[in-house]
Subunit: 392 residues, 2 copies
Amino acid sequence: MTEQRSVPGAGDLLRILRDGRPRTRSELAAVTGMSRTTVTHRVDALLAGGLVGPSGEAAPAGGRPPTVFSFRPGSRVALGAALGATHVRLALTDMSARILAEERADLDIALGAEKVLDWVTERGLELLRGAGRDRGELLGMGIGLPGPVQHSTGRAVSPAIMPGWDGFDVSTRVRDRLGVPVLVDNDVNVMALGEHRTAWPSASHLMFVKAATGIGCGIVSEGRVYRGAQGAAGDMGHIRVSAAAGLPCRCGQTGCLEAVAGGTALAAALTARGVPASGVRDVADLARSGSAPALHALRQAGRDIGEVLAGAVNMFNPSVLVLGGALALAGDHLLAGVREMVYQRAVPLATERLGIARSSAGENAGAVGAAVMVVEHRLSPEHADSLVAGPP
Amino acid sequence: MTEQRSVPGAGDLLRILRDGRPRTRSELAAVTGMSRTTVTHRVDALLAGGLVGPSGEAAPAGGRPPTVFSFRPGSRVALGAALGATHVRLALTDMSARILAEERADLDIALGAEKVLDWVTERGLELLRGAGRDRGELLGMGIGLPGPVQHSTGRAVSPAIMPGWDGFDVSTRVRDRLGVPVLVDNDVNVMALGEHRTAWPSASHLMFVKAATGIGCGIVSEGRVYRGAQGAAGDMGHIRVSAAAGLPCRCGQTGCLEAVAGGTALAAALTARGVPASGVRDVADLARSGSAPALHALRQAGRDIGEVLAGAVNMFNPSVLVLGGALALAGDHLLAGVREMVYQRAVPLATERLGIARSSAGENAGAVGAAVMVVEHRLSPEHADSLVAGPP
């Protein structure tokens, strides 16, 4: 029985202006079907809030030229946090995903939800102050967690590497401290969103692979994060690959991609070959230093990841595959292996225009994507009107 | 610079009423933000076209009770055609996908585009006449082709089993004969759509697998056919599976799913074992007659298809997998093999609520889905207003 009114509000004007093109009141009236009086009233509200500003005059059609208005992306800011197992990255961005301030810090996620989140909240507020921005300008905070998340409620779900976080209401905890909306998602989803918005905004279907300790995938389909039926989409680390046949995986199965191409597996294999490595960072450092066994291992890991991606390319025909995470950022060897396998195995129609690239958002993809998530939430049709009413 | 007016028209009222719930003029005004005068005007147009009708009176709130209006799904009809290599299925449906008339006929697609399409057009018109419906009530025709299709233009694209169809403008040819919009898609996409609308309307993510001579997949994601970047999504027949290692495939690769689990491969394998079979129909008939080698072959084909689907389930987390096509409809053995492999290999979170079922639309899935495709096109926000203006 709940049906939304489709009468456009000030938020709709904001959403129209967000494309960057300045418009006159008449143009806004024509696009929305609002009366001139209503448009004037709502533009005034947007001007008062600083969300739009006059941007010169339109071409005169006789008489005094009408004012044109533009969206001001710098008028509000958002915080994004990307939590890893042992570190956190924070970013303060404007509404166009431009980074205004950022920070990386070591932080052990096993300290537990309350300590970690309180630290993140405090540091976020310091970033805001340091950038000379006001709490009233903060739209919200987005948080990416290194484990499964129930996006709709903002809770962590039985996260393997996050003891003490299971079922914790991340969203409410942080919202209570900041007084702004807080959205939570898993790390690969926010990385995919950040990469899409900053590097591939016109890609219709992007798959972002994070190759690190584990291997996961975030999918942006027609502009939105694709989650699947239970929010479990992108769990590519436990798809079977031929090279892993018989190898035990931490998930309880054998033959999973992660069991042969994840950071832990690569470190163990290198150690067994007499090149000691204790985790994904060591593997990446070895590769950067030119260790031949490490480079070979990354190339083969790329092929194994590529075998899984070739199937995904046939099935879902993305426009671009982006590779991120410590293993992909440690040089071009993993990327080369992925390309080799995808172009060899996927069907020609699906690879004809397929881009395969390393992440250009790089280490910032997650924090920027988390900030983007909350900006887009606040500018969505359901919520944009609340921006005009002032700080929540 | 093209921006659509968001002022609601008669088509929007139709779209609102399409959920089946009757509404008064006041309710329609409240939902759309239209004035009462505008609503009255537009409801009159819908009444005149027979698209809605009065459906009794609302609960009185003092005085004369207001009239409530309902969508009339039977007031317009659509034709759907599903073409196979050697046969065609036609269906005439109303706007709720109810079959009013249907037909199956042998027809060799290799006769070429013009002969086949002219035949399909003529038979479609006979179905319409036989059901006592008028040409003016026909919304359009949907056509499913057994090969790649450029959906946006309605052209066939280098179809392996359709000599003489490459680049043929199917849509224009049929539209010129029928005088109504004609939409074209590949067979698995329309089957997925038909299955979703008739059997799983509330499934958020459905994957429909057609297991026949070839093996393909149609995907319905949040209500819409998922096509991917180039329209190539769902090409699962050429994903590598372990059981096909080294086997040559008609696509030029080795190790493809179709090379071990497609109808042609199964027929060849049975023949080699002394059970002669010349194609997918023979394999299905053998299975129906209880031939143990055929049942074993179908079970194993199900496992091989299930290996590919397990990966797709991890990656895309569908809510339901539906199995159709001659091999899946020949009993439960293929389904059992798929279930075995998917539940064994996919991650628990993705299979927790996953349904795996045989097609219930069965042999009609394609023709009904093709009709649904054109009904939904005509009722879409861009086109619904044209229904009120009378026959196109």
